[in-house]
Structures are given as structure tokens and as C-alpha cells.
């Protein structure tokens, strides 16, 4: 181990895979779990308590749609009692009257609300949910009225990249402290729909200029986090801040994972909370140790001066594109197959040029895909 094992800081809890939206870039796995596979209230509370003991300071409550869990108030209260910072990541449709206020009362620290488009038609089409945009606006207003700090999350792809300036105005008009312009990461459902989602290079360049100018203009007014698109990058992202380095996630059935897409790496097997404690999994799980630190790295990562900046990039992207989870993330210009990224961008543009192909999304639905693609 190249550095001592530190306690985790953050945890993403995917409370459920159920969701009223069907976004074709969902980061959930293709094989979605049904409600009967979800952990019960007490097990989540035990897990959260162990997470706090282990050193977790922030928990992101996500899904699927986490507000579909009727016990969400209880889960927030449990975390809050342990002083854990809670962030609710919601699609913001169909939240019953009074619940947002109840989340705030239970101690919720922050709410992150997704918008699939800045225009109602885009939101409704991408999420495949009629009237979704209006409901989201209402959720934002209710969150502000309940005194909750607000982040607007905008997942970006070809069908909404031109709406980036409108996303900025929307977030400002809703009184958000933060806006995430998050270009879609091609894992999970987004990998299945890659050709339908990949933006054009010129649009990506324009977007970068718009975001840079807005950040300058909005200094001290609204924070803009910019998740740049991997396929157009020179260096990879430090995915999860490094594999099993300071964060992890838990699937609805209690499977503890280093990242969203880790289950696409066939050589790894993952453990569930319950049979083993969180501390045991964090410390000893072979899957967590597989790509921890830098000892596992091959060239060109091994001798790279950036190895502790980007930690080799994304293991799942290496798996998906290089066919080897230990390879350098192909997003890196130093990867021997970096050129493949440009080819995939071109392929997607050619596919999109055929009108009958465009917008033929495989919408995210439980049971649509039973085997990983």
C-alpha cells in the first residue's frame, strides 16, 4: 500500500432503484433491483451508525428516487443525530405535501435537485415523465420555503448542451447556491445510450467557454461545479477521488461498492452489509483493495507524475473501453488507446446523423435489461 488506509469521508446511499423518471443516462446498473430487495429501515440505520463510527462525515441519499422510501424522514433523523451531513439527491417529482418540510425538520442539511432540461419540453422528454419540469420547479420553491440550501444538478448531453446558459438562469432564478453542470459519464445506462447522448466537439468547446464566463460573472453569487466530458479530455478524472480512498457507495440491497459502476468489472466480487460490518468491508474487502493506492498500476500510470492526482482515472471506463480494469483510463492522453475516444465520438456523430437513430433512447426501466450489455 502506497499510503496508509484512511477512514472514508463520504458515502452515497442508493436507498432504492425505484424512480418515476426514466433518464437514459442513469448511473444505476442495468440490472435494477426491485423494492423487495431493498434494505429495511433498521438495517439502513445500523449501516449509517457504523458509517459514522468509521469516520463518514457526509451521506448523500440517492437512488433511484430516495423520496419513494417512506422512511426517509427516519433515515435523515438517524444520520442527523450522529452529526452526519445529509444531502438529499432527488428528481423532485411526486413528493407528497409536507414531506420536504419534514425532511428539513428531521435535520436535512442540503437538497440537490436534478433538471433534465432547462426547458420544460426537454425535461419531460429526457425523463420520459410528462409534467416533470413543473413539479421540479414546485419542489425547488418548497425546498427554499423550508429553508433548505439548494443545488441544481444538470446532467449534460447532446440534447440539452445548448441549454447550458438557460440552466444557469434557471438555477439563479430558483435561488440555488450551487449549480452542477455535469456532463454525462458513460457508464450504466449512459453507456448503452452513448451514441444517442454524445455531444459534438464544437458544442463541448462552446459549453466550456460559457461555464468559464459564468463562473467569473457569478463569483460570490452562485457556485458552478463543472464536470467535464471524459471523452473530450486530456487527463482523466480522479474517479471517486481514487478507488476506495475516501468514499464508497451502498446499493439498495446493501452491497457495498467503491463506485456506481464497479459491478461491471467481472473479476471483482462485492460484499453486502449485514453478513460483514462496514469497517471489515472498507478495510479487508478484496474488491476495495484491488485498485487502492498506486501499487496496482501498470505503465504509463505507474511512473506518471500525476498518479496521485488522478489515481489512474476511472477503472470502469478502463474496463468498458480498454477491456482491462487495471489499464490506464483511455480518457488520458497517455493511454495507448486514447485515440479510441475520438473514434467513439465520431461514431456517435455518424449514428446521430441518421434521423431514425436520433433519440431512440433505451429508457431506464426495471426489467428492461436483465443481462449487463
Amino acid at each position: 500500500m502506497s499510503e496508509p488506509l484512511l477512514p472514508p469521508i463520504g458515502m452515497l446511499a442508493e436507498l432504492t432503484h425505484r424512480c418515476p423518471l426514466q433518464c437514459p443516462y442513469c448511473s444505476n446498473p442495468l440490472e435494477l433491483l426491485k423494492a423487495n430487495r431493498e434494505l429495511d429501515t433498521q438495517t439502513w440505520l445500523d449501516l449509517f451508525s457504523q458509517a459514522a463510527d468509521l469516520g463518514v462525515l457526509q451521506v448523500h441519499l440517492s437512488g433511484g428516487e430516495p423520496t419513494l422510501r417512506r422512511d426517509l424522514e427516519q433515515l435523515i433523523a438517524g444520520l442527523s443525530a450522529r452529526g452526519v451531513y445529509t444531502n438529499l439527491i432527488t428528481a423532485g417529482v411526486g413528493i407528497a405535501e409536507g414531506r420536504i418540510e419534514a425532511f428539513a425538520e428531521a435535520g436535512l442539511d442540503h437538497l440537490q435537485l436534478s433538471f433534465q432540461g432547462a426547458r420544460p419540453a426537454t425535461t419531460d422528454r429526457i425523463g420520459n415523465h410528462k409534467g416533470g419540469h413543473e413539479k421540479k420547479l414546485e419542489t425547488a420553491r418548497r425546498a427554499r420555503a423550508a429553508g433548505l440550501p439548494l443545488t441544481i444538478n444538470a446532467p449534460i448531453h447532446r440534447h440539452n448542451i445548448e441549454e447550458v446558459p438557460e440552466f444557469i438562469d434557471l438555477a439563479l432564478s430558483l435561488g440555488a447556491e450551487r449549480l452542477e453542470i455535469a456532463n454525462v459519464q458513460y457508464a450504466g445506462w449512459a453507456l448503452t445510450n452513448r451514441d444517442q447522448l454524445m455531444p459534438e466537439r464544437a458544442a463541448v468547446d462552446r459549453q466550456a467557454e460559457i461555464v468559464a464566463a459564468a463562473r467569473e460573472r457569478l463569483t460570490g453569487i452562485m457556485n458552478i461545479d463543472f464536470v467535464t466530458p471524459d471523452y473530450f479530455a486530456i487527463y482523466p478524472k480522479p474517479c471517486m477521488g481514487g478507488w476506495a480512498r475516501d468514499a464508497f457507495m451502498v446499493a439498495p440491497d446493501g452491497t457495498v461498492l467503491p463506485c456506481h459502476a464497479a459491478q461491471t468489472i467481472p473479476s471483482l466480487s462485492f460484499e453486502r452489509f449485514g453478513p460483514r460490518s462496514l469497517a471489515e468491508i472498507w478495510t479487508d474487502s478484496p474488491a476495495f483493495n484491488a485498485f487502492r493506492g498506486t501499487d496496482w498500476m501498470l505503465e504509463p500510470c505507474r511512473s506518471c507524475e500525476r498518479r496521485e492526482i488522478d489515481w489512474g482515472g476511472c477503472r470502469c471506463q478502463a474496463m468498458a473501453i480498454a477491456g482491462d480494469a487495471a489499464a490506464t483510463d483511455p480518457a488520458c492522453a497517455k493511454s495507448p488507446i486514447h485515440a479510441r475516444m475520438a473514434m467513439l465520438i465520431d461514431e456517435a456523430q455518424r449514428a446521430a446523423a441518421v434521423p431514425s437513430n436520433d433519440e431512440q433512447f433505451v429508457y431506464r426501466r426495471i426489467g428492461v435489461v436483465t443481462e449487463p450489455a
Partner: protein
């Protein structure tokens, strides 16, 4: 709402406070104070922590500077420059409200 919001600039009369989405908390696991915010955790050094703890929504920046200068037995002017720069940076990141 858009027109109501503008960048706040630190002056000696500013009364800084921590916004609702920011919290200072002692972490018994790491035995250090952490600043928790929506996506990030910060580990302030002793001086930063001394400034942040005084951001209570009652004390003016001028008062905070005077207190810190006394505590650290330092020149008020030097302390003022550091405190103002720190608070402007944190305000620009929306981690401190002015």
C-alpha cells in the same frame, strides 16, 4: 430574485456568519475540526478556525480583527489583511455569508 443577488465585499462593518449549508464540527475519528459543505469537507488550520468560529452573525469584521490581534499578540494591520482576504475568499465560495 436574480437582480437581488450580488457579490458581497468584505468591509470592517460586515457581520459574517456561516450559511445554513455550512457547519463546523469536531470529528472524533480524525481528532480535528471539519467544515462540512454540500460536496466538500475542509480541514481548516488553527487560524482559519479562529476566524470561522467568530463568524457568528453578531461580531463585525472590525471586532473580529481586534480580538484576533489581541489573542495572537500581532499587529492589527497585518491581521486585518489576512482576515479580510480569508473572508472574501470564503464568501466568494459561498461558505461565509457577509
Amino acid at each position: 430574485m436574480m437582480a437581488l443577488r450580488e457579490r458581497a465585499l468584505v468591509s470592517s462593518r460586515s457581520v459574517p456568519s456561516l450559511p445554513k449549508h455550512v457547519r463546523i464540527q469536531y470529528d472524533p475519528v480524525r481528532q480535528a475540526f471539519a467544515v462540512l459543505s454540500p460536496e466538500k469537507v475542509f480541514w481548516p488550520n488553527d487560524i482559519s478556525l479562529d476566524i470561522l468560529r467568530r463568524c457568528d452573525g453578531r461580531s463585525t469584521v472590525g471586532h473580529i480583527i481586534a480580538e484576533l490581534a489581541a489573542d495572537y499578540d500581532a499587529e492589527q494591520e497585518a491581521v486585518a489583511a489576512d482576515v479580510v482576504a480569508f473572508l472574501q475568499e470564503w464568501s466568494d465560495k459561498l461558505l461565509v455569508k457577509l
